[in-house]
Amino acid sequence: MNATIWSLSAIVAVAAVTFLLGYVGSRKANTTPDFLVARRAIPATRNAAAISGEYLSAASFLGVAGLVLKDGVDALWYPIGFTAGYLALLLFVAAPLRRSGAYTLPDFAEARLGSANLRHFCTFFVVCIGVLYLVPQLQSAGLTLTTITGLPAWFGGLVVTVIVVVNVLGGGMRAITLVQAFQYWGKLFAIAAPTFVLFVVFLASPDRGTQPLGDDGVIRFPEAEKITVAEQVVKVRVDEPLRLKVSGQIDGRNADGSVYWSRGVYELSPGTTLEFTAGSPVPVVEGSPTTNRDWSRPQTGGISELIRTYSLIFATFLGTMGLPHVLVRFYTNPDGKAARRTALHVLYLLGLFYIFPTVLGVLSKLYLPQLLVNGKTDAAVLMLPETMLPNLGGQIVGAIVAAGAFAAFLSTSSGLVVSVAGVVSTDIMPGKVRDFRWATVFTGLVAIGLALLLPRSDASLTVAMSFALAASTFCPLLVLGIWWRGLTWVGAVCGLVVGGGLVISAQAVSVVSSYTGRWAPAFITQPALITVPVAFIVMIVVSKATRRRVPADVSQILLRLHAPDPLGFIQDRSIARFGTAEEKARLADDKRRGAGRTR
């Protein structure tokens, strides 16, 4: 119970600091450019911290360690890809995107290709990606709060939604910049400090019943363990025969008492309880390595594993530059050079962070193999401190981790809500500050509704899907739009529809297959390897076929995108459309004076 109090107070502290910083940041926010792009006055290093804070979501904070626990060394491709994506963004997108002077991704598309139709398509995909990314954040928030405190799962998601929406209502982008920058450093501390402490504990007591790292055989339980299968049906693979006690349903038949499992796959119904003795082999959730040898060696899953790895590299390398909530942060830099420096600084901040989840993943493999049975590996980071240090120290370390995880949900969700609300308010509504606030509330409601309705899956996997979607839609649009004169709006729309449509149908197929026996091949569950080139080719071919529609002013536009900042070609589209802060103040002043006169 003590542990719960520690963790809860840490979480409340994070929430309080979030509110405070949001309040400080939003005191002077009153115009649309304030809410959309924070008046484009964020210095490069602070913006980089804010981007990293926003980007290190639940998938990074909890998911990476969980995937290392489950899949071993091959899971390290996730952090590599998540970081390398910023390199691609720096190389191809950062500076020209900022110089376009746009304020949202659809606005950039319209500025470049001059088509309102294209703008609407982009709006649709921005909302899709935003929601696809937001839902797992809220669901993981529920999981985290349940793991820590035992509160019901819907409560965590609701708390995060309310905090984020209230903060964003106050000041939009201005409110969340400081919050996200602070939360990056908070998260770095919350993962680095526990890693150091737990690693020292590990060095001080290397055996404590755990399996030696050099053992090549099947993964075994360090001590006797009792496991209850939660909401969903789980399939586990057994590689070495074992004896255990069960009560519940196995393979759809009732089972009670002591049973003997030979090699094979078993299906466990929700509510089934399993009791293992110390040293018995761990049945591992289907699709993950069952032996220490396969876990610690790369590429042991055969050719389909290889394809999945390549697809993952593709999706993350090219997908980051298509994520609307990341791009919108680059619009807040003062100029193109600052945008480039921001991207470079992000590479440094992310590299610093991603070393720690890997270490935690390896440690949790030694101490928490029971998570492999029901596949709930996202909880590993949260459970590890108290498992390794069952005393006050462990409780405090656990509280720090919990606070970090909570910060991860808050910062990522606020970035997503701002970017979706910005697009909805400027493209579907007239784009006044009031519209932005309504759009924020609306986005929050839709997201929490979906989070409660949809079934949960691993945070990293859903996030990987939204990367694939971004890589197959906005990545070709941005890269071709910035570097190729021949792009037309017809080509862009066709590319978006084909790329996005392929990814969405692949997602649908893989959901069906996950319910009916996992028959989908790797290129459907990780479709980027095929869909990204297809989207590029469609855009190029259709643009060539509709060459008449190349905008007449394409030279001027490319000049704006690429001319160095000192030449002064940047023009701010948000000010062109919504007016400057000074103008706004003058108008309000006139109104007041006008009202005085009539009185």
Binding site: V73, A84, S296, F317, L559, R560, P564
Partner: protein
């Protein structure tokens, strides 16, 4: 006019963003005799850029080509490097048995090494890109 129409930026907004030259046919510069004086040259080049005469367009095309060459070269190198790793691990599984200080090499190669390399590549690109831009600015207001 419905509510939704109000959301679209009007065509004049686009022209304002592009400057006055947006819609007009492009002006071509015809040089009969080079009578430019030193003082007027900086301004003139900027005007040529703004109006995207044939000279101005050539300058921008060259800049874009330079930047794209840097970006493509580095991206290609990184992507090839990353893509070679899984196939190497797949074809030569014995790499997994080698260790440095008790840590298997694949864990070091995937868990630690990529981050400094990615930052280094980014740093090189930033330097190159900023140099290209400096050269461009120097050329324009020479």
């Amino acid at each position: 006019m419905s509510r939704h129409d109000a959301g679209k930026p009007e065509p004049p907004a686009r022209e304002a963003w592009l400057g006055e030259q947006g819609g007009r046919p492009r002006r071509r510069r015809v040089v009969l005799a080079d009578s430019t004086k030193k003082s007027g040259k900086a301004l003139r080049t900027i005007i040529e850029l703004e109006e995207q005469t044939s000279v101005g367009e050539k300058l921008v095309r060259d800049l874009i080509r330079q930047q794209l060459k840097s970006a493509f070269g580095l991206a290609f190198a990184v992507l090839i490097g990353m893509c070679l790793l899984p196939i190497t691990f797949y074809l030569v599984p014995s790499i997994g048995d080698l260790t440095i200080l008790g840590i298997p090499i694949p864990w070091l190669v995937l868990g630690l090494a990529p981050f400094p390399i990615l930052y280094g590549v980014g740093w090189v690109f930033r330097r190159q890109a900023e140099r290209h831009e400096r050269d461009f600015v120097n050329m324009v207001d020479r």
